[in-house]
Amino acid sequence: MDPILIHLIKIVGVVGVLLFICAYIVLAERRICAFIQDRLGPNRVGIPLWIRKDGSAIQIGARWALGQPIIDALKAIFKEDFVPGHVNKFYFWLGPMLVMAPALMVWAAIPFGSTLCGVPMIIADVNVGILLVFALASLGVYGIVLGGWASNSKYPFLGGIRGSAQLISYELCLGLSVIPLFMQVGSLRLTEVVRWQTEHLWLVCYPWNWLPAIIYVASSFAETNRAPFDLPEAEQELAGGYNTEYSSMKFAMFFLAEYANMITASALMVVLFLGGWHLPFVPVSGGIAVGVAHICIFLAKVCALALVFIWVRWTVPRVRYDQLMGLGWKVFLPLALAGVLITGLAIVAGWSPS
Amino acid sequence: MPDNLTTPTPAAEMVNATINGIKVQAPKGANIIEAGERVGVFVPHYCYHKKLAISGICRMCLVEVGGPMRGPDDKPVLNPDGTPKIAMAPRLSIGCNTPVTEGMVIVTNSPAVKQAQNAVMEFFLINHPLDCPICDQAGECKLQEYSVEFGKDASRFREEKVHKPKQVDLGPRVMLDDERCILCSRCIRFMRDVAKDDCLGFVNRGSHTTLACWPGKKLAGNYSLNTVDLCPVGALTDKDFRFKMRVWFLKETKSICTSCATGCNTVIWSRENVVYRQTPRENDAVNQCWMCDAGRHNYKHINAASRLKKALVSGKEMGYADALKQLGPKLKAALADRASVAFVGSGRATNEELYLFSILAKGGVSDCVPRTWDGDNFLVNADRNPNGAGAKIFGVAAQPMGSKLTVIADGIKAGRIKTLIVHQEDVNRRGIGADLLAKLSLLVVVDFRPTETTKAAHFVLPGVTYAEKRGTFTNANGRVQRVWPAVSLGGEERSDWEIFRDLLRETGQPDRFGDIAALFADMAANVKPFAGLSLEKIGGGGVQISVT
C-alpha cells in the first residue's frame, strides 16, 4: 500500500478516535462529578434510532446519556457565534485554533500500539520523540495567551497571564522529571521507551522513578490547566478566565482542547511510566489480533488515567496562585533535580537494568 | 334661602378654655367637640353631627370637665400663686352637649376618659355582628376606626348575640341591617329636622331596640340617601352602591352635581375610570352636607356603553383630528355669512365652553334649551340647567331662555338658516324635528352621547361629561364652582372646551387658549362678572360673583 495513504489513514484514525474520546470524556466528567456529589448528572438523551410520528424517539443508552455529546456538539455549532466589538478579531480567531492544533499534533509522535499488519502504530517515529512532544505541547500556551489578550477584557487578560506563567513554570518540572527515564532507556525515541519497558519492568516499578512520576503527574495537571491547578480559568475569581468572551464553537474549541490535552498527558504518562501498549501475559508481537489488543490496552490505560484526572479534579480544591508558583519553583524543581541525581546514583550503583 | 339651610350666625363673644393643657378660644355656646376641633384635639363621637340636633345618646364623647372654683363667698378661690384654683367635676361629661364656658378645663386623654371610651366601645360591639367582610361600610366605618383607636383588642363577650332583622327594605333606595345599627338616631334626626319628613323611629326596648319606619311610611323622600352618609356604621346602605366596590379602592375627586342649578358640591368616587358613586361634599354656602337622591344617582350616563368615543362624519366613525380637518373649511365657509348660521348652546356646559361658544356664535342667532320643573324649596332648584346663569352671562341664551328656538326652527323652514351648530342638546325634542334638520346644509353637533340630533348631523365631535373635564359652573345664586376630571374613557373624545378651541382655530380665529388656565384668564379679562378671578381663587369651595 502507498505509505502516504497509510499515514493518512493513521492520521484520520488517530484524530477521529481522539475527538471521540474527548467528547465522551466530557460526558464521563459530568457523570462522575455528579456521582461524587451524590447526584445523577445527565441521564436523558440517548442515541436516537427512530423518531415516532408523535415526536417521541426510540433511543439507546438514554439512562447513560450516550447522546449527550452529540447534542452538546450540535448546540455548540448552532449557537450564535458572538464576537464582542472590542476584541482584536484576528488573534481572537487564532486563539482557539492555536490551542486545539498542538493538542492534536502531539499525537504524531506517540506510539499507540505495536504494529498492525506490519505497520508501526505511530504516525512519525522520530528519534527526538519526547522533545518534539514537549515542543508541540508547549505551543498550546500561545493559544491561551492570545485568546486572553485578544479578548481585550480584564478577566480573560488575567487568565492569559496566569496561563503563560503557569505553563512556563511547570514545563521546567515536566522536562526535568522525565530526564531520569531517558537516562535509563538511553533514547529519546518513544517507541524505544516502550520497547525498553516490554523487555524490563514498567518504569514506574523502579522506586527511584516514583518521585519523577509524582512530579510528572502533578506537572501535567498544571500543564493541562486541570484542577487543582486550573488558575487560568478560575470562574470564581476570573469569571471564566481566558475564555470568558468566547461563545459557540470557539468556546467549544477551548473546552475540547482542555480534554484533548488531558488525554495527551495521560497518553504520555502511559508511554513513559506505564509501559505503553504493553501488558504482562499479552504477547509482545503476533498477528492482527495481538496488534488490535495492544491498541485496546493502550486506550484502556489512557482512559483509566483520564478518569483519575477527573477524579482528582472533583476532590482537590484549587490552590492559590502563590502556592502554585511556590510549589513549582521551590518544591518540584529541586525535587526533580534530586530525582535526576538519585537515578544517576541508581545507574552508577548498577540497580538499573540497562 | 330655605329655612332648613340657614346656618346660625356665629356669636361674636368668645370664651377661653383649656383642652389637654392647650388654650382654646371658642364662640360662646360651642360644645367641647367643636372647641376641640379648633386646636386639633379629637373627641370621638357617633350620635353628634354638627348639622343635626344634639341627642347625646352614644356616650362616646365623654370627657373630664372642670372649672374655676368658687368659695362660700362666691369669690374665685385662688392658688397661692394667684391663679384660679380648678375644681374637676366628679363624673365625666358628654362633650357634645356641654357648652364651653369661661375658664373651663377639659381633659380628653386621662385614664378615666380612656376607660370610659373603652367601655362604651365594648358595649357597642356586644351585639354588633362580625359582618365587616360583606359590609359596605367597611373602610369608612366609624365603629371600625374607633374600635382600633379606643376599643379592646379582643372580645370578652361569650354569650349569644341578639339577632335582629337583616336586609330590611326601608325604602326604594335604602337598605337597613338592624343588627349593625348602634342606635345613634342620626338618621331619625335628619329626616325629622332637615328633610322635614319624619318617617323613622326606634321601636322595642333594651337590646331589642330597632330602627323602623312609621307604620304606613317608607324612607322614600328625595333626601333619603343622606341617612346613608350620616350612618356611622353599615346599618343603612345605598341599594345602588351595595356590593359594587369596596370604598378603599375608590379615588375621590371633587366635583359638583350638575343635575340642577343649585350646584351641590360632591365627591365622585371612581376606580379605573368607572364611577361608582357620588356623595355630597360639605359647603355651607351651597348644600351644607346634603344632596338629593336624584342628583346623587345621576351619574350612570358617564360610563354608559352608548357613549360616543369617536367623531362621526355623516354617520361614519372617524378620528377626531381627521374629522376636524374635513369640518374646518366647510365651517369657515358657512360662517362667512353669519345670518345663515344658528347656534344652540347648552345650559349644561361650563362657563369656559359657553365663553368659547359665544365667540363662535357672535353675529348669529343663538339660544339654549330651558329646563324648568318643580323645585322643592330645599336643594332641588326649579331650573335643571346647572349653568343657566352662565348661559345668560355669556349671552348664549336668549331672554327669556328658549324663546329663540322657534325663530331658529322657522328660519330653517324658510331656508334662511342653512347651518346649525348644537352643543350637548337634542334639538330634535325641542321643536327642530328631523325634517327640519334634514334641510340644513351643515349640522355640527358636539355631544357625548348619541341622540336623534347626532344621527342627523353631518359632523359629530365627541365631547365629555362633567366628570371628565376641568371647568367652572355658575349656579342659580351666582356662585362659580369648579369640576375636576375623575375618569377618562380613553377614546377619541375631547373636553368640550378643547373642541370649541379647535373649531375657533379652524375658522381662522387667533389661537390664544392653550390650556384651561389660559382660557379662564382670557375669560376673566373679557367678561365682567369674572373679572379678577382665576381657577386657583375659585378652588374647592367656589366664589360668589355678581350676576347682574
Partner: protein, 166 residues
C-alpha cells in the same frame, strides 16, 4: 480573639496522604444513594403548609366560602387578583350570606405566591396549597377564573359555620 494557627507537621506538609484520603472519600461517594429526583416521572412530596398556588375552597355544604370582601385584592402586592362582587339573588339558598363573588380572577403570571391573600382572608376562603406547577400556553390561559380556582381548591370543612347563625 486570636486563633493560634498550628504549623503543619512534615506528614501534613507532604499533602499526598491528605489528597489520597480525600480521593478515597470522593470514591466512596460514587456508590452512595443519589438524591436526584427524576422530575416529570417522580414528583416531590410537598410538605404540609407548602405555599403553592392560591386556590378558592368551598365548605362542606358546597358553599363558596369567599364573600367578595376584596381584602385579598387590596393586599395583593402585584395586583394579581380581580374580584367582581355581587349580591346573592333573591330565593338563593345562601341569601343570608348576602355577598358572593361574581367573578374572581387570579393572574398567575402576576402572582408572586407571597400568601398575603391567605393571611388577610377573614373567611378562610383562599389558600396557597399543593399545586406548584402552574403552566399555560398563553397569557389568557394563566388568568385563572373562579371555576378553575374552586376546582383546584376543593372542599375544606368549616368547623365554625359562622353564616348558619345569621
Amino acid at each position: 480573639m486570636k486563633i493560634e494557627r498550628k504549623p503543619l507537621t512534615l506528614w501534613e506538609r507532604l499533602y499526598l496522604p491528605a489528597i489520597i484520603s480525600g480521593m478515597m472519600l470522593t470514591f466512596s461517594h460514587l456508590f452512595r444513594k443519589k438524591v436526584t429526583l427524576r422530575y416529570p416521572e417522580e414528583k416531590p412530596e410537598m410538605p404540609p403548609g407548602y405555599r403553592g398556588q392560591p386556590v378558592l375552597v368551598k365548605d362542606d355544604e358546597g358553599r363558596v366560602k369567599c364573600v367578595a370582601c376584596q381584602l385579598c385584592e387590596f393586599v395583593c402586592p402585584p395586583r394579581a387578583i380581580r374580584i367582581k362582587p355581587m349580591a346573592y339573588p333573591e330565593n338563593a339558598k345562601y341569601k343570608k350570606v348576602e355577598k358572593t363573588p361574581e367573578e374572581f380572577e387570579i393572574d398567575m403570571i402576576r402572582c408572586i405566591f407571597c400568601g398575603y391573600c391567605e393571611e388577610v382572608c377573614p373567611e378562610r376562603a383562599i389558600f396557597l396549597r399543593g399545586p406548584y406547577s402552574v403552566t399555560g400556553l398563553s397569557r389568557k390561559d394563566m388568568v385563572f377564573n373562579k371555576e378553575k380556582l374552586l376546582e383546584l381548591g376543593g372542599t375544606l370543612p368549616d368547623p365554625i359555620k359562622k353564616w348558619r347563625k345569621k
